[in-house]
Amino acid sequence: MQRNIYVYIFVMFAVTYLIRVLPLTLIRKPIRNRFIRSFLYYVPYVTLAVMTFPDIVQATNSPAAGFLALVCGVALAWSGKSLFTVAVISCAVVFVSEMILL
């Protein structure tokens, strides 16, 4: 069954907006439950890490170039470079290494 992209987009919007707006409009006190707080605290790191690897080596024409971008990206982020810098240099690494590799 082929699904409708606009329905997908609406589902994305509806769920994401409710998550963002319900606490702001309804909850006036911070979450006290330590497990839930901790779970929410760890979620972004796990999610982003899972989405980054191995996907980054599958996104490029040459997997080696993607892997090199991963290594450089980690090194740059580790040294405290901004979001913008890390993103741009990662792209540059792939561009240059694919010129050499392919």
Binding site: M1, R3, I5, Y8, V11, M12, F13, V15, T16, Y17, I19, R20, V21, P23, L24, T25, R28, I31, R34, F35, R37, S38, F39, L40, Y41, Y42, P44, Y45, V46, L48, A49, V50, M51, T52, F53, P54, A59, T60, N61, A65, G66, A69, G73, V74, A77, W78, L83, F84, T85, V86, A87, I89, S90, C91, A92, V93, V94, F95, E98, M99
Partner: protein
Amino acid sequence: MNQDNKTWYLRGLRDGMPIMLGYAAVGFTLGIAARNAGLTAFQAGLASLLNNASAGEKAGFTVIEHNEGYLAMAIMMLIINARYLLMSCSLSQKISPKTGLIPRLIIGFEVTDEIFGVQMNVPGMINPWYTYGVITMALPGWSLGTYFGVVMGNVLPANVVSALSVGLYGMFLAIIIPPARKSRVIAALVLISMALSCVLAYLPLFAGISAGMRVIILTVIIAAAAAYFFPVAQEEGDSDAA
């Protein structure tokens, strides 16, 4: 608009400038991901206009690409964007209790990592006009960036598209690596997450698990285990939120 609101709005515009530039660049790479998933420029721009969430949208496009079902999409958004729940809770403490429903609905619309960050930098309570200023800059940068990512992705040479495809992952690294440097638990989590992600992606045993489900399953299991074994202190959770 009174003088105070105007001052705050202008300050929001100023703080929104670097966010706009970053969003335009990252939005562009997100557009390329959207294009790979089969979305048109208009659909991708619309998704960005309504969602303003890089990780969430990337995951959403994966669900669309694999034609996975609306419920899977809803669950995916719920889990990936769960952190906005925490941020929204913190923000509710940063706005005056007198703030009306409409400003709350607008501020809630644009709860993102970066915009949340600049809002938490404001001393004391936030004037909603400050947030409106930031949104005025950031939202067009993000949605137009995504739009042009799809448009340009079609005309750019393959090697340029290949290079730009990693921009989004570069941004993810910039978000997760600095905290990993400060916390051994987060560093270990990042390594374990990537390793298990690789196992699920390549081991024939797990071949039936889609890319989208892989993110959901691993996020729930790993984050819950971390929360159980390494519960964060109250202050640590707050500092993350800021």
